[in-house]
């Protein structure tokens, strides 16, 4: 490929380690930086460099196939290996790109929301969280997954708690998330322990080979699988385990919400795919049972239930948070269909939803930044006071509903087709019903914003007060991406669909 030759060879060769090490070490440096502006610049440059590297790695995977990087030169299964393939590379690029978007946005948002003294550690925690998420996605070692999971989780708890400067409920939300997240991580590591007992290895590829030699293994492997699914389920906010999510999304600083909503649950979902389809195999009877009944079951119930809850929230951020739980249901449904088309649709929705929800939360943060509002009833007349921000919110909202020519439409249609091909007409009905519910909860906000008139304060109508450019630019980039995917501008839609199909083919074993 042409673009690929522009990347330095060293970056492509050492890229897998580079995207983890750079944010990790810069996190340590940023933590002791005296200047807050310098800390912001450092964090921004780190995320930019990682995005470029992740893009190079993605191109490399598509032209040369999957690559394996050995940490310290120790070959797997003994050493830790980093694997970049068609499944992990798009998620890597997604996380890195969303980190850049949130870092640009962070400049005004953090000044408004985080105490000056805590800003440099805030960026440091952000970089650590970023490094942890990148590590979770890229590593080929199951125990290493746990380590990076904890790196990202612990820094996330701190980031959520930083919201306390504007809303004290952030502390309770962070504590809740800490307890739930720790339980999730513990379940995950218990599951790994059982797997290690069964297979005697921690390398994922090796584990997969041994498990298929054992034809799925004994009860130990089954128990291990159960623990891993529950542990990851907590992290990805699978329906009955999602209780930490609304609080964490609603009260953390805006930029943290944006980053969490678009990457953290996505990385956990990626791990679920990894474990369900490559470490274990759907040909084991317990694996397919969990996929078919548990994942689809909680996915569908979550879609309906969380969408209903979203309708009745007074706080707009909580509406979006519950909507996130519902959207996870779509992805789980896609995984549960378990055909190449179904997984591809679920994977595509994973990428699309990150872009859509990122846009929505960016706009939500801007509303707070200008007027300090989060309740739906306060949205009256926002289309007049903040037209550009509200416009971005509207387009992202329509994309969330699944209106044609937007990203949400593409993934929902693909999911519907996959469900229909499988003969699951009830699933098609559920998708339609939850889309209608999405119209209600997004429509409720749009209605207030576009048909309400701006409130009067001291006898004067609130004047137009647009969000700063540093907030508008990242917002509109995501909006254009969303439209680009939906209307296939510049081949964006085709590329996203192709990426998801390649990932799905890798999982069902047709070849990357």
């Amino acid at each position: 490929m042409d673009i690929l030759s522009l990347f330095p060879a060293w970056l492509l060769e050492q890229g897998p380690a580079f995207v983890i090490v750079l944010p990790l070490l810069m996190g340590a440096i940023v933590a002791i930086m005296p200047s807050r502006t310098l800390a912001w610049w450092a964090a921004l440059i780190v995320t930019l460099l990682c995005t470029v590297t992740a893009f190079g790695l993605l191109l490399q995977v598509y032209s040369n196939g999957a690559s394996l990087y050995t940490m310290g030169g120790w070959d797997p299964p003994h050493g830790i290996s980093l694997v970049v393939d068609a499944l992990s590379a798009p998620v890597l690029l997604l996380i890195a790109a969303m980190a850049v978007v949130t870092m640009v946005y962070a400049m005004p948002a953090t000044i408004a929301e985080v105490e000056p003294k805590k800003r440099a550690p805030f960026y440091a925690a952000f970089l650590l969280c970023f490094a942890g998420l990148m590590g979770m996605v890229i590593t080929g070692d199951a125990f290493n997954v746990f380590v990076f999971l904890e790196v990202s989780s612990i820094s996330t708890y701190a980031l959520v708690a930083m919201g306390a400067a504007r809303d004290r409920r952030a502390l309770a939300a962070a504590y809740n998330y800490l307890i739930m997240g720790s339980i999730g991580a513990t379940f995950f590591v218990i599951g790994l322990g059982f797997l290690f007992m069964e297979t005697g290895t921690l390398n994922m590829a090796d584990m997969s080979r041994i498990l298929s030699d054992l034809d799925g293994g004994s009860r130990v492997a089954k128990v291990g699988y159960g623990f891993i699914v529950v542990g990851l389920g907590l992290k990805l906010a699978m329906f009955p385990l999602h209780t930490w999510l609304p609080g964490a999304y609603a009260y953390s600083p805006s930029m943290v919400t944006v980053f969490l909503a678009s990457t953290a649950t996505k990385a956990a979902l990626y791990l679920l795919l990894r474990f369900t389809f490559t470490v274990f195999d759907p040909s084991f009877n317990y694996d397919i049972v969990v996929i078919k009944y548990v994942l689809v079951g909680v996915g569908v119930v979550g879609m309906i239930f969380a969408s209903l809850q979203a309708i009745f929230q007074t706080d707009a951020r909580r509406t979006l948070a519950y909507s996130s739980v519902a959207q996870v249901g779509y992805m789980l449904l896609g995984i549960g269909i378990a055909t190449a088309a179904g997984i591809a649709a679920g994977y595509l929705h994973l990428l699309n939803h990150a872009i859509i929800k990122g846009g929505l939360f960016l706009a939500m943060g801007a509303f707070w930044y200008r007027f300090g509002i989060t309740r739906v009833t306060d949205f009256n007349g926002l289309s007049k006071t903040m037209p550009w921000t509200m416009g971005a919110f509207m387009i992202s909202g329509l994309s969330l509903i699944g209106v044609p020519f937007t990203a949400g439409f593409v993934s929902k249609v693909n999911l519907t087709i996959a469900a229909a091909d499988k003969g699951w007409w009830w699933a098609v009905a559920v998708i339609v019903v939850t889309s209608v519910l999405a119209i209600i909860y997004i429509g409720r906000i749009l209605l207030a914003a576009y048909f309400g008139s701006p409130p009067e304060i001291d006898g004067e109508t609130v004047k137009r007060n647009e969000a700063p450019l540093m907030m508008l630019i990242p917002m509109w980039i995501l909006v254009f991406l969303s439209i680009g995917i939906g209307s296939n501008l510049f081949g964006l839609g085709d590329n996203f669909v192709m990426a998801s199909e390649r990932a799905a083919n890798l999982l069902v074993g047709i070849g990357g």
Binding site: Q14, V21, L25, A28, Y69
Partner: protein, 146 residues
């Protein structure tokens, strides 16, 4: 008035240097026996924590200032990661210690010593940071305000 804790103070004053010394033994003997940076870091931090328990938090904070803690945490991580960066600069994979010296096994040796030192720094600082954070925490509402 006599100091009621005089025995504790005298005994711990004797003990603290030995605890610190033992920490370094665990650190540098980690190549040949059980031990290493993590264990040594915890033991070294225990020396400071014992000092804080007996002589008070303020005395401990003058002996081991909180600003060191923050720098120590970062420096430890940087020492670990920096070793990897050096191996990158020497043209090998990340953390391939083999290239650090002419003979590969010497390189492995130097590499692991540098990395373990980083762990010692980071673990000591983090343990003390946790202790300081809990120890110096002021209740946000006074007892009477409830």
């Amino acid at each position: 008035m006599r100091d009621p804790h005089v025995i504790l103070r005298v005994v711990s004053k004797f003990l603290i240097p030995f605890i610190a010394l033992f920490a370094f033994y665990v650190q540098f003997h980690g190549d040949f026996g059980p031990g290493g940076g993590f264990q040594a870091g915890v033991i070294l931090a225990a020396a400071v924590i014992l000092y804080a328990l007996i002589f008070g938090l303020e005395a401990a904070k003058t002996a081991f200032p909180p600003s060191w803690v923050r720098i120590g945490m970062s420096l430890g991580v940087l020492l670990y990661g920096g070793t990897g960066v050096v191996t990158w600069i020497l043209g090998a994979d990340f953390l391939s210690y083999g290239v650090l010296a002419e003979k590969s096994y010497h390189g492995q040796h130097y590499g692991i010593i540098a990395v373990e030192l980083g762990i010692l720094l980071a673990v000591t600082s983090v343990m003390i940071a946790i202790f300081y954070a809990f120890g110096s925490r002021q209740p946000e509402t006074d007892e009477g305000d409830w």
